[in-house]
């Protein structure tokens, strides 16, 4: 009997700590499938952020480093400069990359550091229990904006891909979501392209993935997919924001 679907070799057999309906598990699996398909498990180094994916190293079956909040791109820079032949990626949420670590991501991108960034955007600080993040949508209720985010006092949601798109050091930026099977496949393609750009062209790229957070959005997993489609996608449009090195 042929087994058609199994756990990727790059994924450890450990129980998940993520909530039901969370997008992290899907993206973890996609990364592991890609690492298997590219046969780079022995040369991949991942960097964990602070946030819900703080213990992502429990799931990835290759070398991982856990770093301080927001500093993943700076640490990745250090790793990649020394281990130039390795495939290096950071895995960061919006509370990490788009908030406390904005300086690091902007400057790693500006320098064109040749690693991949997997950026999970769920429009909230998930780990600490659903406070307003810079990516929180206008009107979105969080524990620190109980009547919804008001631009007058809390500013506007940050679009990371657009922010980075003007930097010449950036080869590729795509925003995608893990809300349905089609988009999940597109997400895999985007991550794979990012890894290709690193391996083949030595370039910086970032894939932003809109991901549901049923727990902090106070919705069921199904409702949260709908919420993502009706609220996040209209603002964070799914598109290739920049592609200066189209692959053949």
């Amino acid at each position: 009997m042929r087994i058609g679907f199994k756990r990727p070799e790059s994924m450890r057999n450990s129980p998940t700590h993520y909530c039901p309906g969370c997008g992290h598990g899907i993206v973890h699996r996609l990364i592991c499938e890609i690492v298997d398909e590219l046969r780079i498990r022995e040369k991949t180094i991942g960097i964990c952020p602070v946030g819900c994916s703080v213990i992502a190293y429990d799931y990835f079956y290759f070398d991982m480093v856990e770093v301080a909040h927001g500093r993943a791109p700076a640490v990745a820079t250090g790793i990649k400069r020394v281990q130039t032949e390795k495939v290096v990626f950071t895995y960061q949420g919006d509370g990490d990359l788009a908030s406390i670590g904005t300086a690091e991501i902007v400057h790693a991108a500006s320098r064109g550091e040749p690693f991949s960034v997997i950026f999970i955007n769920n429009a909230t600080y998930g780990m600490t229990g659903g406070q307003m993040a810079p990516t929180t949508l206008l009107g979105q209720k969080t524990t620190t904006t109980p009547f919804g985010r008001d631009a007058k006092e809390a500013g506007y949601p940050l679009k990371v891909c657009e922010l980075l798109s003007s930097l010449p050091g950036v080869a590729y930026l795509e925003r995608i979501a893990v809300n349905n099977p089609v988009n999940i496949r597109k997400t895999k393609k985007a991550i794979k392209k990012s890894f290709h750009l690193q391996i083949e062209k030595n370039r910086f790229s970032l894939v932003e993935i809109l991901s549901p957070c049923p727990t902090c959005w106070r919705l069921s997993p199904l409702e949260s997919l709908k919420w993502l489609e009706e609220n996040m996608i209209p603002y964070y449009s799914l598109e290739v924001v920049k592609d200066s090195v189209p692959l053949p």
Partner: protein, 393 residues
């Protein structure tokens, strides 16, 4: 009359902040502090405070925003834990040197790495030389009382320094206790209105904050800062007395718990002091002359009061919930051993490092410490100067 309520440590801090009603609160979430700001933001949303709330992108910016706000004449607050405090580090020193009376609850949590979210005092002890006044809280009531007093201490003209009020992460921050809350008006009256004597907004009396200060005057300015934090000792005591008048609860620089005639004394700060008290009560019933010296103000450190309290003890153990790597003992131990140096009679002191990264400490461990003190008092011999409690070795 005020009211008696059941609150967690974080809720207590938020409640005190509601009554303080600061002009500005700038903060970033971090476990286990998050609930303070989260609860406070509900007060902001409901319009029960008039605070301008700034949801900044990092603690470095939180403290920077507090500096801007405080220098502009506002009463500014923030709250943080561990790595958040570490990220503020640069700005903490600047806040103190600008003499800005910012008040900050610090929910004690172990500093990375390895990453850990549970309690120890590595964060606040690491910041002990930043120029901030530090008040340690044993329980929820003390968080409330310390925060309200901290406003008065910080803003005293003789002091004008930032104050950190610590509470043990999870052990206190997430545990519900009975807390007596004063009437809002009483607190408002007690803390008074904040008037910065050198406000940036006062264009008729222009000033520059934080200009370049090289070998010509930097040293003198630091000397002024030393004087201010020294004076804070008296102010902490004075404010403590005044606070008793409105609350019935008195506060000193430290708390002597059954120290009278105590031969065997433990020194502790934070929630562990409560556990030690329980052990002291048990031992006293058994006829053992045990006592506790609880540190409330660690900065300024009450050198004279501590040596006065400990000089007649037969043996003293200092419990430190943090490490000073490479030093012979933890931060509290080093201070106390030094404070006792001037005493004519040598008091034997030992140090125990405990509770790092949230490792629990219980009655049995504390009893073992008193047992060891008994041995030291009898033999006059210290076998191990620095030991560890609850550690697998």
């Amino acid at each position: 009359m005020g009211k008696i309520v059941g609150l967690t440590g974080d809720e207590t801090a938020a409640e005190a902040m509601r009554q303080i009603n600061p002009d500005v609160l700038a903060a970033y979430p971090i476990t286990p502090q998050t609930e303070i700001v989260q609860n406070f933001s509900q007060f902001v949303a409901n319009g029960v405070v008039s605070t301008e709330m700034i949801r900044v992108e990092s603690e470095h910016s939180a403290m920077s925003a507090c500096i801007g706000a405080a220098a502009s004449g506002a009463r500014a607050m923030t709250a943080t834990s561990a790595n958040g405090l570490a990220l503020m580090w640069e700005i903490c020193y600047i806040a103190a040197s600008y003499r800005l009376p910012i008040v900050m609850p610090l929910v004690n949590r172990a500093l990375s790495g390895p990453i850990n979210i549970h309690c120890d005092h590595s964060d606040s002890m690491g910041a002990r030389d930043s120029g901030w006044i530090q008040l340690y809280s044993e329980n929820c009531q003390e968080i409330y009382d310390n925060l309200i007093q901290a406003i008065r201490i910080a803003e005293d003209k003789e002091v004008l320094l930032p104050v950190m009020v610590t509470l043990d992460g999870f052990i206190i921050s997430h545990a519900m206790e009975r807390v007596e809350i004063l009437e809002d008006e009483k607190v408002t009256e007690f803390i008074g209105e904040y008037k910065n004597p050198y406000s940036l907004l006062d264009v008729d009396n222009p000033v520059t904050w934080g200009p370049l200060d090289l070998y010509d005057y930097y040293f003198e300015h630091k000397r002024q800062q030393i004087e201010a934090i020294e004076k804070a000792g008296e102010v902490i005591q004075r404010v403590g007395k005044e606070f008793k008048e409105i609350s019935g609860r008195s506060y000193e620089l430290m708390e002597n718990y059954r120290l009278e005639g105590a031969d065997l004394v433990i020194v502790a700060a934070g929630s562990t002091a409560g556990t030690v008290k329980a052990v002291v009560n048990q031992l006293r019933e058994e006829g053992v002359k045990a006592g506790l010296l609880k540190i409330r103000a660690f900065r300024p450190f009450p050198v004279r009061e501590v040596s006065q309290a400990l000089k007649n003890a037969k043996a003293v153990a200092i419990l430190d919930r943090s490490v000073s790597f490479g030093a012979e003992g933890g931060p509290i131990f080093l201070e106390i051993r030094s404070a006792l140096f001037e005493e004519a009679k040598r008091v034997p002191v030992v140090n125990y490092i405990y509770g790092l990264g949230g490792r629990d400490i219980g009655i049995d461990e504390i009893k073992a410490v008193y047992k060891n003190l008994e041995r030291i008092a009898q033999t006059k011999k210290i076998e191990k100067l620095v030991g560890y409690l609850g550690l697998r070795e």
